[in-house]
Structures are given as structure tokens and as C-alpha cells.
Symmetry: C2
Subunit: 199 residues, 2 copies
Amino acid sequence: MNKGMLIVLSGPSGVGKGTVLEKVFEHDKNLAYSVSCTTRPPRSGEKDGVHYSFISKEKFLENIQNGRMLEYTVYCDNYYGTDAEYVDSLRKKGFDVVLEIETNGAMNVLKKCSDAVSVFIAPPTFEHLQKRLTERGTETSDVINKRILKAKDELSRIDIYEYLVINDVVDNAVQDILAILRAERIKKYNKTNYRGVLI
Amino acid sequence: MNKGMLIVLSGPSGVGKGTVLEKVFEHDKNLAYSVSCTTRPPRSGEKDGVHYSFISKEKFLENIQNGRMLEYTVYCDNYYGTDAEYVDSLRKKGFDVVLEIETNGAMNVLKKCSDAVSVFIAPPTFEHLQKRLTERGTETSDVINKRILKAKDELSRIDIYEYLVINDVVDNAVQDILAILRAERIKKYNKTNYRGVLI
């Protein structure tokens, strides 16, 4: 069995990552979603190991010191990050692991894992994103403006990603990602496996 | 419009390249097949510009001298090769050009065109190929043995190709190649085109 791939996936808030990823996971049964660790307390309805792995601040800091965090960030005094050992254990079981993370985290992961596949999901235009964030109507204009500024910053760093998928029509974006996964598997596994067949 | 990609495709005789490629071309309308030049006279039923571009030996040698041949080979005193200007004119029209060539030619093209996508189509096992070549029944055992030896040599050089597609089930091999084309287009074009959208 091959060790699975690591797929780093980013995209600004409001681009529709959730919907796209849900459909990708429906089609591709070899994927595993990497659940982040956090030190923030669970909100009502959040399950440990599903929405987050809820761990203590002491444990999180210990993980950082032991070099066990693939990436992490601090937000409102809470830590969020990816446990490298957890990701590795999934990959060793043969799963291709999807890391849905922000651009800063992605940069750190890509520095550490040169064989990771990196995908950025972008809106067709910046105006699309602005419209979508505004029309949601669930956030204050202050929050919306912060998200728009952050999206601008993230879009300015698309060059660190190997693949840029445009989420104009959801099903096209889904097919794009499925094609990327299929092509990358062919590239990474077929030659290695084939040498065994030829002997 | 983007300049099209160059796709270098190889695979041993008997692997089923023809069938696979025919189906790939049916599905993907942005592909153009590169017709080779040759100095050998047309056989009955062969059309100029379809099966080959039939040119004189003088013209072929002139093309070689002018550095106009992307690759060429001599077989039974006849020249066979790929006209770089012809390939480039198709790419400038936006077509992704498929070059179906042997491993030696592929090595030369990949040296010259570092951005070419390279695909090798292999049989599931070497025994599959042997069986297929033997069962065709149209060639003498001498010809079959030569082909088997040549296939062995070609299979020993799969490392020069980026992608290795296994032709076990034809439709899977077709879907593999379509996914590779889709992923490579996303990689090569999306970021470039998107920068224009962001301005």
C-alpha cells in the first residue's frame, strides 16, 4: 500500500469551499479530512474529533515544543493547528489527507512537506466574493469588511499554490479537484508500483 | 487565448495506444494530433496531411539543417519526424498538441521543451503485452520478437515520463489521460488568466 498524499487546500471565506469539498468527498472515497486541534472550548453541538480535536492549552504548547504541530495559529487567545502525527497516521493507512487551512498555515506546511499537493479555490472575480459575503446577511458590515480585506490578502498569494481552481459553477470546481487528485495519484504512485510488476 | 500545451505520448507496440487515443480525442475537443513528416512514399490509401505529411528527402534534410525538426529518426533509409513550426502553429491557435512518438524521440523533445507534459502508456504486466503481440497473428515470430525486445527497452525508460498510465481497462486509461489533461490545464492556465481578472 502507498502512503497517502497530503493535499493543502485554501480559499477565502465565502468562496464556497464547504460545498465544493462536500461533493469532492462524496465522489472520492480515498480522502480523509484532517480535523484541526484547538484549545478553545467546544460550542454547543460541536463534537470532539469531528469538528475539532479539543485539547488543553498545556497539551497544545507541549505539541508545539515537541515539533509535533504541522502548522498552528493563535486567534482570540485560542490555539488552532494541525497535529503532524495524526495526519501521518491517516496517510500511513493509505488515505489522501485534505488539510483545509488558511494561507499562512499553508505556507508553513508547504515548506515542511515539499511533496504536498496545493490547491487554492478562488471566486470567478473579486466582485463575486464581495457580493456573496454581503448577501449572506448574517454578519455585521464590520465583519464583512474584515473578511473582504483578508480575502484580498489571500488572493495576492495564490502563487504559492500549484493549482488554482475557480469556483464559478460548483460542479466544474468539483470535477477540477477530482481531476487534480486523479492526475496526482497517477504521478505519485503508478511508476513506483509498476516497477514491482516488471520484475 | 493561451498557447496550447505540448503532450508527448509513448507506449510500446501492442499496448493499445490507438484505441485509447481515439477515445481521448472523442472526449476532448481541444486536442490536435501532430501528423509526422516522412520521406517514405505514401502507401495505398494514405493521405497527405492525415497519415503523414509526405515531403521530399531534400526538404527533410533542409528542415534538419535549419533546426526545424523537433525530433526525427531514420528507418529503412526513410526519414520520419516532427516539424516544430507545424506544432507551434497549432499551439498558437490554442490547441493542445499530442505527439505520439517513440521513447528516443520523446527524450529529445523533452530536452527541448521543458514545459511539455509526458505520458507513457504501459501494459498491466509484460506478459499481457507478449500475449497481445503473439495473438494478433498478423506478424511473423521474428517481427514479434523484435517488438518484444523493443518494448522491454522502452519500459526500462519510463522514468523520463511524468505520468505512467496503465492500460488494463481501456476506459480507465482514457479517464486517466483526460484527468491529466484537465489538471495540467488548471496548473498552466488558471493562475495566468486569473491575474488579469484581479486587476
